[in-house]
Symmetry: C2
Subunit: 245 residues, 2 copies
């Protein structure tokens, strides 16, 4: 860890960056994943770094979608594991969803490292065979045919637009968590959550527990993904409107 002064006004954010850099050196996060984190930070500035009411609504919908699903899978990459392994383990407990590692910059070594981070945090993992079951060039098409390959609902935090689009084209309900409301990931998702992953996941888990405590069947909800994105974009415009006050 370098010598960041605690007096720096962005100390917490700088420390998170250093943690991600350490995760990259350990092989858990790809180095390109550090730039993704930066993009997320920028959009989070425009949300005031907090969960908006519309994001919270989307998170509650996501809980219902996961519980109503026949075969829900949480598809986890290096950044999500490095930032939120404990939150993923807790959401798995709350929702009963499977957890499967899936990487944009895929190497078998990195898959094993990410799996290890998740298992240490308490996740039970799908680690079946991998086949090209998503229609994509590149290793991003690989997944477990009995996991993501046959899931009806997939939650993909911090996902690439290409892969999100491919999963949707396979007829799956795709829930994304991405701070950028105007990229293809969010625009393509069945249910886009525009929020920081460590804020979003506990909200989804809490709503799963609340719904289960009602002891009533959870029905697959109607989702207006466009309204969700419009609300997020409006929040950012409203923030910019007063950003120089």
């Amino acid at each position: 860890m370098s010598d960041i002064p605690k007096s720096h006004p962005r100390y917490a954010s700088l420390v998170t960056r250093e943690q991600l850099v350490a995760a990259a050196h350990a092989g858990v996060v790809s180095y390109e994943g550090l730039t993704s984190h930066g993009r997320g930070e920028a959009f989070d500035y425009l949300l005031g770094e907090k969960t908006s009411p519309s994001a919270l609504s989307a998170e509650k919908l996501a809980a219902a979608v996961l519980l109503a699903a026949k075969h829900p899978v949480l598809s986890i990459n290096g950044n999500t594991a490095a930032l939120a392994a404990a939150e993923i383990a807790d959401l798995q407990k709350a929702s009963g969803a499977e957890v499967e590692v899936n990487l944009f910059h895929r190497t078998e070594e990195r898959v094993k490292l990410v799996e290890s981070v998740l298992e240490k945090a308490g996740c039970r993992l799908n680690k079946g065979k991998t086949e090209r079951c998503v229609p994509l060039p590149h290793d991003r098409g690989l997944c477990d045919p009995e996991g993501i390959g046959s899931a009806d609902v997939v939650l993909v935090p911090l996902e690439d637009g290409d892969r999100c689009e491919a999963l949707v084209s396979m007829g799956k309900i795709v829930i994304t968590i991405d701070l950028n409301p105007i990229d293809r990931t969010s625009k393509t998702a069945s249910l886009p959550i525009v929020d920081e992953v460590r804020r979003a996941l506990p909200n989804i888990a809490a709503e799963c527990r609340r719904l289960l405590a009602e002891q009533k069947p959870v029905l697959m909800p109607e989702i207006d993904s466009r309204a969700i994105l419009k609300a997020a974009v409006s929040d950012m415009e409203a923030f910019l409107e007063h950003a120089l006050d």
Copy 2:
């Protein structure tokens, strides 16, 4: 280089990220600098990834400021060197400004590496002694007392807000190039340029050449930094307004 498919709609952007990752592995860019690049990318999305009319006006003002200065210095960090060493060398030729390396995550080894990248691109560098001449904790306070330390105008592309503020507090005219119009760097700068560094630098150099060709004295211009930032924020709001069309 990894196996990014050319069919990926963001191929050029992915390749630039890979180049920065390579620069980080070579020691030129800090790994935290990769997250900074990501933040810049996000704000550049909101500018449509092009130079706005107000940014171009700010770049033309920057040229006048550099030419009117008694002792202008271009303060260069790892990201700027990795992205735009040739553009810095050309701006040095066009403006006559000194070039000095100054790093947020400073080690002597990395200073030498960044200097080497700049020299290979054709920069002539200030490499005097370094002293703590900027009022900051951390090694960021170090600079050449006969370079940045005694400059009247400093151009600091991709600078931290803390350091920008400290330079302004020393009475210097500080020109920044930063895609985020609402952070302290832009808000504190005497002349904030809200544009991508590889687009901004050639525009400044071209205006320096145009002004010099007039063979008239260049006077220090009036600068309305707030109007510049308001225009940038308005551009982003306008972009968001139609981002989901």
